[in-house]
Symmetry: C2
Subunit: 237 residues, 2 copies
């Protein structure tokens, strides 16, 4: 067996004729039916000359990071500011795209509810997706899981919520993203203890059918922070 070389040999026999694409699952909590609660939606574009939907994405340019590339490609769709973007996973099955060997580096992107620009692409409720191209459905599923998981131990919801909000609204956002009801009361306690949200001191307008006007809150940070690092096995003292 020849000496197993580390990676630094820059030009060995197997030159990479692979294509690297960037795909982003962009989520936003949106009011689809005004009569019912808002739902988690994902941004989809229609592939050219095809009736299938696919995730927004494209190729990397030589001078940019994959993340920069993802931002650029989503920004081109004119759907507002991405408040949070993170790597999801790489999908590399040899036959995932029939034409040519294509490796997809995927991202999870989040857009706050108060960003309302709707550009080229359209929003689809994640629980009612159309046929998706290639393995894109699988990518959306992975992104949902990642989002749900991080909601419980990070402040990631800052990227879904508007700048200021009553707790009931935040509760609806959590509910939409998690897929099950969330107790508003306890949510406030948990997020307060962790200093994830803080009161602004202002109050909002009372709703359509009366009721006490809600206190408005805001997220303490606008960058991802792990708020519950050690579920167990904490370091001593």
């Amino acid at each position: 067996m020849p000496t197993p070389l580390p990676s630094s040999s820059s030009t060995d026999g197997v030159s990479s004729d692979v294509r690297v694409e960037v795909l982003t699952a962009v989520f936003q909590v949106r009011v689809v039916d005004p009569a019912s609660a808002p739902v988690l939606c994902v941004l989809l574009a229609r592939a050219e000359a095809s009736d299938e939907w696919s995730l927004p994405g494209g190729d990397v340019t030589p001078d940019e990071t994959l993340e920069t590339s993802a931002r650029r490609l989503v920004a081109a769709l004119d759907i507002g500011t991405i408040a949070h973007l993170e790597q999801l996973a790489v999908f590399s099955a040899p036959d995932r795209v029939p034409d040519a060997r294509t490796i997809a580096s995927t991202y999870l992107g989040l857009i706050p509810t108060d960003e309302s620009a709707t550009g080229t692409a359209t929003w689809h409720p994640v629980d009612d997706l159309p046929e998706l191209a290639f393995d894109h459905r699988q990518i959306v599923v992975a992104a949902r899981h990642r989002l749900a998981a991080k909601l419980s131990y990070t402040n990631i919801a800052f990227a879904l919520a508007p700048a200021r909000f009553p707790m009931s609204e935040l509760s609806e956002i959590y509910c939409a993203a998690l897929g099950y009801p969330v107790d508003t009361t306890n949510l406030l306690r948990i997020l307060s203890r962790r200093a994830v949200v803080v009161a602004t001191g202002t109050v909002g307008k009372t709703g359509r059918s009366g009721g006490r006007p809600p206190a408005l809150y805001q997220f303490a940070d606008s960058r991802l922070r792990v708020t519950d690092e050690f579920a167990t096995l904490r370091p001593p003292m």
Copy 2:
């Protein structure tokens, strides 16, 4: 602005002349100094004609997944069976490798303590690393963090521990991987409650200087399982 195309356009202007490499941070808990506790080590290879160390890795072949590639490249080093391998992250800074644009898809690999084959590469304690090539140190750091995090909410330690072990030994493994002491008593309780480890019914030999012979345990699964899914915001009922 031209129509923002989704990814499926297989041959547009920006063809990818990027190289895709796979790099794996392989960890094993090893006894370096027989007089003291075992430590977490990472597998490093010496780059050809260089005095720098680098992570094992290489190029993808057209017919394999990135993960398959990672397994193949590590297997070539003859250091035993990888009990767990997972995606870590993609490193894509344009200048991370000076020569040519190289995107690194990185993996975290774990090898149990009872695998003792030492092939071409050598083990280095993670707290005492030599100079590493390119951004490889950063990759090792990311891998350590991932391992430490997953130790607290998954059964990932199955891939570090031998087939059967006394709890004191498992405790040392956790300690080495986490970097701080772990109470053996409580570790057993936690892992038992979560059904991560189970008693084998057998007992081991007593140590060098007397003492009660320890009960031997084993991991219930040999695949990654999330054991503490909802730290908080559990679904109702």
